[in-house]
């Protein structure tokens, strides 16, 4: 991998697969494709050939807005001492089962 991607390189897409109905789509990897339709078929060929999915999402990598490592302090650290946000202080009736 070089820093300078050649001009003719195809755009990068991220691939999300729903493994079965009721579950949510999970990020499984990425691939190069000319456009969204080609990314969808490529994702089908690369990531679902062993029956891994029932639904596929693809999205241009450049369209994803991500938090940066510098955000970690202000974003996540303040949550660490707020135990009251975790619902661990309730007694669940047995009928509820697993939550």
């Amino acid at each position: 991998m070089t820093d300078k991607a050649p001009l003719h390189e195809l755009p990068l897409f991220e691939v999300f697969i729903r493994s079965k109905n009721g579950l949510h789509h999970r990020h499984v990897g990425s691939l190069h494709a000319a456009d969204a339709e080609m990314a969808l078929t490529a994702a089908r060929d690369v990531y679902t050939r062993r029956s891994e999915g029932v639904s596929i999402w693809v999205v241009r990598t450049k369209d994803i807005t991500a938090s940066s490592p510098e955000d970690r302090g202000p974003f996540f650290d303040p949550n660490e001492d707020k135990m009251y946000r975790h619902p661990t202080f309730y007694d669940l009736p047995d009928e509820v089962g697993h939550m």
Binding site: H32, M38, T41, A42, V46
Partner: protein
């Protein structure tokens, strides 16, 4: 040469199975050489779909023939003149544009063929057709996508794809040719009238070519002969590679 004693039912299944197998083998030649990894997997998936179809069709052909030949016997121990695949599918891969043009012309045909064969009086053949139709529909989507993107892509991709179509167009009329085997199978309710599919094939192909800014070739030549075992020079080399191992080591095992 067509031996007069050949059972038309066997012959018919052989034609279907052989076209799938030879095109599957052609696609397998891209293994390790495809332009990008994503496309490599796509080509291998499609090739393996076709080889899977061929296994079912040739196994069934062997049973219909009743001389104890199984799928492997039929795939690996027949010489050029005994093969019944369409001339189109044995044409060399060339560049990626040629591979995709060949694929598009065939996929469009095969999809229509399987759709009709799903109603065959031969229930095994009908089941194979139903299963294979889903695969064929995906193959069509894949090759159609490439036709649109290469045809309406860069100047180079357009030029290459148009050249590929011009080179392959003369093999198209054979897809719709029919002989006494086809007639016998139509009469028995087993086979289909491919001639009746021509108009639909034409309109589908023309629609894509037009959207892809490609010109429908007007080449002024056409060849056929696969029904009689007359092939282009390319099939022999393909068979030599495909059949080498089981012929050199008949009892070879994994």
């Amino acid at each position: 040469m067509n031996r007069p004693e050949t059972d038309p039912h066997f012959e018919y299944l052989l034609r279907l199975g052989d076209s799938s197998l030879i095109l599957g083998q052609r696609l397998a030649e891209w293994c390790g050489k495809a332009p990008i990894l994503e496309e490599e997997l796509a080509l291998m998936n499609i090739g393996l779909d076709l080889i899977g179809q061929a296994r079912l069709l040739l196994s069934h052909a062997g049973q219909v023939e009743g001389r104890g030949r199984d799928e492997d016997r039929l795939a690996f121990f027949r010489d050029v003149q005994e093969w019944r695949n369409l001339l189109l599918v044995e044409q060399e891969n060339g560049d990626f544009a040629k591979t995709m043009a060949r694929q598009f012309l065939f996929d469009t045909f095969q999809g229509l063929q399987y759709r009709e064969l799903a109603a065959s009086a031969d229930s095994t053949l009908a089941e194979i057709a139903v299963k294979s139709l889903k695969e064929a529909e995906y193959h069509q989507r894949h090759s159609r996508n490439w036709m649109l993107r290469m045809g309406d892509g860069t100047e180079e991709s357009h030029t290459r794809l148009q050249k590929a179509l011009d080179e392959l167009w003369g093999y198209v009329p054979e897809l719709f040719e029919m002989d006494e085997v086809d007639q016998a199978m139509i009469a028995a309710g087993i086979g289909i009238d491919t001639n009746a599919l021509r108009a639909e094939w034409d309109s589908r192909v023309r629609e894509v070519l037009s959207e892809a800014t490609l010109t429908v070739p007007d080449v002024g030549w056409a060849v056929s002969g696969s029904r009689k075992g007359q092939h282009t020079e390319h099939l022999g080399y393909l068979l030599a590679e495909m059949q080498f191992l089981p012929r050199a080591y008949p009892d070879a095992r994994w």
